[in-house]
Every structure is written in structure tokens, then in C-alpha cells.
């Protein structure tokens, strides 16, 4: 039951994009079309869960060695390597999946949601299962917000907006309203 709550809280209430402010750059960059939003969303779910699991074990190792202060350096390198590895692996084993997600993978290294969730898992003292659920939930939340937003943005492109708001400014205001809507979930848990 607690794990279900954790998932809901990670995906909806503490949505990485709309309430934790992680991963905004790819969010604003990639959300112009729904198809690429879906691709990016799936890629993030995949990588964030994988890196959540790996960094959890890695942290156990660092704690064991008494080197917790190297956390940031080790995590970011591992994530960079992991993304490369996933890219190669997909290319070899599943070309169709690679085609769908491939171009988004390199962008993920600089997605702070990945590193952010890895660090948060450690800071909140989650056990392995909780860390996994939390990461997966956050990934799902990211994908959800991204896809909803891209759908809104596709519609918005046809609208006539004041010149000053063209581009990112309007996008930010829209996300603000979306975030306001997501705040309604906060009574859930």
C-alpha cells in the first residue's frame, strides 16, 4: 500500500517537472510535438528507473568505502556512461526501439531529473524497492506532464498570441497553469 502511495506521490503530487522543477530544459525544448514528447517520455522512464537502481547500489558501495562525498562525481559519470551504454545496447538488440528513442537518449545525460532523482533517493533513505518505485513513478510523472503539455502546445501554435509572449514566455505561463492543476493532487496522499 505504501509503495502505491509512493508511486502516486512521485508521479502526481511531487511531479518532477511541475513541483520539483527537475528536467525543465528538455521539457521546454522537446515539447513542441506530441510524437517526440512520447519518445522522450519513454526514454526518460527507462533511463531514470535504471539509473535509480544502479546509483542506489553504487551509493551502498560508496558508504561502505566511506567516500560518500564523491557521490555527485560518481553519479554523473555513471549516468553518462549508462546512457551511452543503453544507446549502444538498443542499437544492437532492438533497432525499432532505438529508432523510437535513440535520438532522445544523448539529451538525457544533461536532464537533471535523472541525477536529481538518484540523489533524492539517497537523501530520503529509501530502500532499494522504494528507490525503484520512486524513480519509476517520477519517470511516469515526467512523461505524463510532457505529453499533456506537448498536446496543449500543439494546439497553441495555431493561436494568435501577443508578440511579447511568443515562444518560451507563453510556454512557461502555460506550464504554470498546468502546475496549478497538478497541485490539486496534493490531497491524494
Amino acid at each position: 500500500m505504501n509503495l502505491v502511495l509512493l508511486f502516486i506521490s512521485a508521479a502526481l503530487i511531487n511531479n518532477v517537472l511541475l513541483s520539483r522543477f527537475l528536467g525543465e530544459c528538455p521539457f521546454l525544448g522537446i515539447s513542441k510535438s506530441k510524437d517526440s514528447a512520447i519518445g522522450m517520455g519513454l526514454a526518460v522512464i527507462f533511463v531514470i528507473t535504471l539509473s535509480g537502481a544502479i546509483t542506489w547500489f553504487l551509493n551502498e558501495l560508496l558508504v561502505f568505502l566511506g567516500l560518500e562525498y564523491l557521490q555527485t562525481i560518481v553519479f554523473i559519470l555513471i549516468i553518462a556512461v549508462l546512457v551511452q551504454f543503453v544507446e549502444l545496447f538498443l542499437k544492437k538488440t532492438s533497432p525499432s526501439l532505438y529508432e523510437a528513442l535513440g535520438i532522445y537518449l544523448p539529451l538525457i545525460t544533461t536532464n537533471c531529473a535523472i541525477l536529481g532523482m538518484s540523489l533524492l533517493n539517497i537523501r530520503e533513505n529509501y530502500n532499494f524497492i522504494e528507490a525503484l518505485i520512486n524513480s519509476f513513478g517520477s519517470g511516469c510523472g515526467f512523461a505524463l506532464a510532457l505529453i499533456i503539455f506537448s498536446a496543449i502546445r500543439e494546439k497553441m501554435q495555431l493561436n494568435d498570441v501577443p508578440k511579447a509572449f511568443e515562444g518560451t514566455a507563453l510556454a512557461l505561463v502555460t506550464v504554470g497553469l498546468l502546475s496549478l492543476a497538478f497541485m490539486g493532487f496534493s490531497g491524494l496522499v
Binding site: 500500500m1 511531487n14 513541483s19 562525498y69 564523491l70 562525481i73 537523501r123 530520503e124 497541485m183 496534493s186
Partner: protein
Amino acid sequence: MKQHLKTGLILAVFMLASGLLVSIVYNLVSPYLEEGDIANTLKAIEEVLKDPTSGSLIISNVPKDKKTLDEAIWKENPDGILYTSSKGAKVYSPSYMFKEDGKEIYVLTVSGLGFGGEVKSIISLIKESNELKLNKIELLDYSQETPGLGSKIGEENVKSRFFNIPQTGLTSGIRVDKDARVNIPTEALDSYKEQGIVKTSDVMTGATITARAVADSINAAVEFLNQEGVLKAELKEVLPEPIEPQEEVDWNVILQAIIRILIDSKTGEYLVSNIPTNVRDLESSIWKENPDGVLYTSSKGAKVYSPSYKFTEDSKEIYILNIAGSRGFGGEVKSLVSFVKENDALKLNKIEVLDYSQETPGLGSKIGEEKVKERFYSIPLPGLISGIKVDKDAGVSVPAEALDSYKEQGIVKTSDVMTGATITARAVADSINAAVEFLKQEGVIY
């Protein structure tokens, strides 16, 4: 090849250099890190030793370093935890006590479960002429709370809502109001505090969970002080608001149910010769009762209601308990359960579910069917002791002969007869566990 080697070497050199740099800085900074933590604690303790209205210190010799602080230690525990409440709020070791002018000042480190993790705070309680009051509270760690929402708990105007709570408020259990953003006149705050109600909604909108965590942690502190004999008071159960009205009890239904569970689950014969035939007969068999209506509450919120009954026949003792398990949502699942104690061995005989009206029809409501109920029948002592659990595998049919060996382990299989209603079955299991814990507490089993 050579080129690769060179590249690899350069990469390795950079890694080493950066690792070295970071470790040097870490070793230089680490004493400050620890000192910072102690300094934070000392600062927080000094803060809570101030009078909230005047702002002046209530004791003359405030500890300024770790040594003088250690001298004020009151209770400690190598585990690091002195008390855990039923809501998961904790009192951490060590706790401190200061004495001055007939006043005893207790300083406790407490935590409650907040939004993203623990909300830790230091609180001071003053005991003066046998009256305890909460003096001040200082938040230590609330970094996991939502910035701008839950994190507001650290702000003075929010914290101060928890200051100066008198004993009447503390013993009735602190709870946080839920009304959203109503402006509350300041003079009303004190009278709310006397009832144990802390109003935060106007200063901290939408962050009930964080405020509730703080309330839980204060309650844990009061429960701990009561346990240690500092406060000799009857603590009230913190009731979720609004308090649900007690339903009328239909004694006939209960009597019928009791008669049914007095039948031996194996042989089908009555366990006792003088079966109660009316309510008065029942009254003469009352074993334990409590004017509050509740005999025992387990950590999972399952309850043993008053009264409980005991029948004696030959060498057998038969206990009948009124139990209820919390469903999480949709209220309670109430049942009557009978235990038979013979030759020091206790077993669960039968269970009769009384109120499952709030369960989902066709799903949870199946708990009333005989073939589901009988899965809980005849659970032997080893199963009871290990705690009853309900399995989760969906809809697998379980061979009848395996059911008994599962019962030995305390596992009750219901998934094949009651698919998709684990919560209801678990509520029943929780309530049985509460009954076993209650019997253990009363010395019926060891």
C-alpha cells in the same frame, strides 16, 4: 593503440586529480560539518529554552558546548530511539532535562512522518507545580518538505502556532485543523490550544501533512513523558475529525453471532453446555470491559472493543472478543471472534463478521460468506503468534489440504474465494492480530 592508451591515461589522471582535490577539501571541511551539526542542535536548544512571549531565557545556564549539554542528559538509549508512537512518530535519544526554580524543563528531539520524509524538531516542555505545558518548538530538519508549502513550517509565524500549549491541550492530543485559509482571530488561538487544536491553515495553506507530522511528534513526546511518569494523566486517543457517531448496537444480532461462534469449528458441536439465550446471560459472562468502549488498539489501528466475554467449560476457556479492523477507507470491518484455550494451547475457533456494510458489494462484501469466513477458522497458536497475514496472489485456487498448513504459518488464503478484496480480508486479519495482542497483554497467552 598507443593513442587510446594516452587518452585513457589522461582521463585517469584527471579522475585522480579531481578525486584528490575533493578528498582534500572534504578532510579540511569535515570537522566543520560535525561542528555545524552540533552547533545547530545547541542553537535549537537555546531557542526552545526561551520564553515564547518575552523571548528571555528561562534558565540561567544554557549549554554552550557538547560537554555541558551532555551533563543535562535525562534519558538515553543506545538504539537512538526512546519512544515510537502508534503513528510512527519518534522521540530520539538523548533527551535533556533542566531544573530551575522548581521548574522542570524537558527538551526532547522528536520527529513525525511528513510529506517526503521525517520532520524533525526539538521541543521544550515545562513542568511547573504539576502542570505540564509545551513551551516552544524549533524545527531541525524539514528539508524534504515542499519548498514554499510544507517548508513554511520553519517560519516563525507558523511555528508559533505550536507554542504555549497547556496541559489540557496536550492530554487531549494535538491535532491540526483542516479548514482551508480561513482567517483566525489571534485571541481564539489560545482557546483552541486548550482543546489541543492547532490552527495552521491560514499561515500554511495546503500543507496539512507537514503540520500533522509536527502534531504527531508532539503527541509522541507527551506519550513518552506520560510513560516515564512525568505527566500522570489519562491520554485521550486522537480522533480523526469529525468524530463519527457511535451506532446503536443490536444486541440480538450479537447474541446470534456469539451463539454461532460457540460452535466448535471442527466438530460442529457446542463448546459450552449453558449457551447464553438472552442478553442478561451474556452480561454474566463479561470478562473485561472499559467505559471508553475500547479495550485495545493495535499499531495498525485495529481495535478490541469492550466488552469481551469468557466462558469456562471443563478444562476449556473460551474467549469471545469484539474486534474491528480499519479498512483504510470506508471505515471498519467489525467482527466477533472466539478463541479456545485448552491445555495452555490457544486456537482461533470461529469468526463472525458483523458489519461489512461499507464494503464493495460483490467484492469485499463476500467476507460475510461462509466459505470465506471459514478460511479464518481453526487457526492454531503458532499461526496466531506469527501474526495473521492475508495472501495476495490473485485468484489461484488453493488445495483444501494446504490451507491448514498455511494456517500454521499464520497465512490465510482468501484470494481464490474473494478476488480483489485484499483490503477487507486484511482488515479482518489485522483485527484478529489485535485480539491476539490483547490476549497476550492480559496474560492469556505468553
